[in-house]
Subunit: 355 residues, 2 copies
């Protein structure tokens, strides 16, 4: 963990529920843009399989755990292992997915999956504002006595997050993370520029909701709305994610929501990633927001799928970094956490689930 | 409050969220069976309007607060007033409604509105088991550190509850409550008997899920599933409702779920109702389950719509009794509660919402 990341102590006295915001965008089917699924089209299944596996222990829609093309398992593996020890409420929020998970979830009335952002028409006009307001209402309904660790699952989410930041006037080019060890910065930049140009967006000048409708996705605006509502009720919020959460901060700042009590909690794989700039982005967008990171390593793990996390695969997602950080804050040491995760990995392998 | 109802003390140290299970059944459109809406067809709108009003302060689907044909307001008025003081999380669970509320809610994947139970085919075959399992999963997801006050909104719910109990072999004839001051026992009995006969149910001998598919509704089986899951996780549960909750207890007993730590919390209007037998039903079905009731009265209220509650209108619904009981357990006295409710009533009248 770098010097600039804060102390995990700040998470210790939270009374959290874990909320996962899921959605899909056809951006993830652009070949080469993400490895959050075994093939470009299969990425549209990843959020549904992620959350089904997260809460039931096995996916329902298809009998496979989401993996990269190389067979590296979804970060939901870390999240599920952590939840088993944390024993906190789990709430799934569906903001717009091509494939709907077959489990109980909170559906936002305006939930709509996104088109590829290089079209400049990611969402039907007015969707971003509707999702923000509906998610804000959810934050008001759930907020108050409960705190929240807020995770996400949206393949190509770093690309849409980059588009949102660039359109809002933040230099995000070459600074967002990636699910793979080699970050396709050039491709992301092309896709983002094409969308911004087609939509006629003036960087830093367009309305935030227009920006999301043009080059955003359903997830990040919904997370922002939820945070706005829950903060209004006095809840403490942990944004559990990587550079994607920087786009949430950017939206919140533009809407004048107080971000000083938010904490971003992620993994060391994000904070130490030389192909992206999490800490720099947060510092520029919302210097008052604290960033913390789990220090867990799988360097010496017996399992190839877990060692791969140390080689830059996956890095973050489904709130993994936030939940690992919360475990550490509650006194689980790195060894105990590794054992919890390896036990879950073994369960999957023994269960014959293809990972 | 009768001697037989327990002490409100038992609610004091709960850490609850309020969950409302909503659904509709065409049973409520049988003329004369319920006054939970201004007309038989309008009762299908009542749950949607109830929960929209509950969380936003005004209905969205239509600009009217649900009322009886005489203009007596929905018990959601009491629930909203109580929630304003309790400040606890609110979660709406959609189990099958003809009209979907326009707010964020948990949708069960198999949610299906019910047909009239005198058809003997209330739900598509297999729905009851699916709803039970999905709601149980929701209980497992949310349960543990949180406790739950569980309310319902389903017009004609006392009739479907009676059908469930009768089909399970419990003598419920003439013992369920009603939303009106004169309880249409004969009509309910006719409808229930017709459904049971058409479905070929042997009272007390048929499978519990077959019973619900034949003469039940989506709400009661879902509440039972949720309770089963949350109890499994160690949550404490308050069943916030009237005689309908007796059918939930009956389902749970048949499925061997431990009901000894459940509390049923309702209003004095239910416990003191001479046209029904709440305490007797609970004693027969699950003697180990405690019943408590709020003691609040609107006898001397300046408002006709609230005084009507003392004349046997409405009586219970949308968790009203449980939330009023919780307020009392937390030290609000009857006068303070009356003031909170009257303030909400005034807000509605001033806002021009037709009640």
């Amino acid at each position: 963990m770098r010097r600039a990341a804060g102390s995990l102590e700040s998470l210790r006295d939270l009374m959290p529920a874990f909320t996962v915001f899921i959605g899909t965008t056809r951006t993830s089917t652009i070949p080469g843009i993400t490895i959050a699924g075994p093939s470009p089209e299969a990425t549209l299944y990843t959020p549904a399989l992620d959350v089904e596996y997260l809460v039931i222990g096995r996916p329902v829609t298809l009998n496979v755990i989401p993996v990269t093309p190389d067979g590296i398992p979804t970060p939901a593996l870390l999240s599920r292992a952590a939840l088993g020890a944390l024993k906190i409420p789990v709430i799934i929020v569906e903001t717009g997915s091509h494939i709907k998970p077959k489990i109980p979830l909170v559906a936002l009335p305006s939930a709509t999956p996104g088109e590829a952002i290089n079209s400049g028409r990611a969402l039907p006009r007015g969707t971003a504002r509707a999702l923000f307001e509906e998610a804000r209402l959810l934050g008001l309904m759930l907020g108050g006595s409960l705190d929240f660790v807020v995770g996400e699952s949206i393949p190509a989410g770093t690309t849409t997050a980059m588009a949102i930041m660039e359109a809002l006037g933040i230099a995000a080019k070459g600074r967002v993370s990636s699910s793979g060890p080699s970050n396709p910065h050039r491709l992301k930049e092309m896709v983002v520029n094409e969308g911004i140009a087609k939509a006629g967006i003036e960087r830093g000048k367009s309305d935030v909701f227009d920006v999301i409708d043009a080059v955003g996705d359903p997830v990040h605006i919904s997370v922002a709305g939820f945070v706005a509502g829950a903060v209004e009720r006095g809840s403490r919020i942990v944004l559990a994610g990587g550079t994607q959460m920087c786009s949430v901060l950017a939206i919140l700042k533009r809407l004048n929501v107080n971000t000083s009590k938010l904490i971003v909690a992620t993994t060391r794989w994000i904070v130490e990633d030389s192909s992206s700039d999490m800490l720099g982005l947060v510092k520029e967008i919302s210097p008052e927001t604290q960033v913390v990171a789990s220090t867990v390593s799988f360097e010496g793990s017996a399992y190839r799928g877990l060692r791969a996390y140390e080689q830059g695969y996956v890095k973050e997602g489904v709130g993994a970094g936030g939940l690992l950080s919360l475990l550490q804050a509650r006194g689980f040491d790195e060894k105990a956490i590794r054992e919890i995760v390896e036990k879950e990995y073994e369960r999957l392998v023994r269960g014959g689930l293809s990972i």
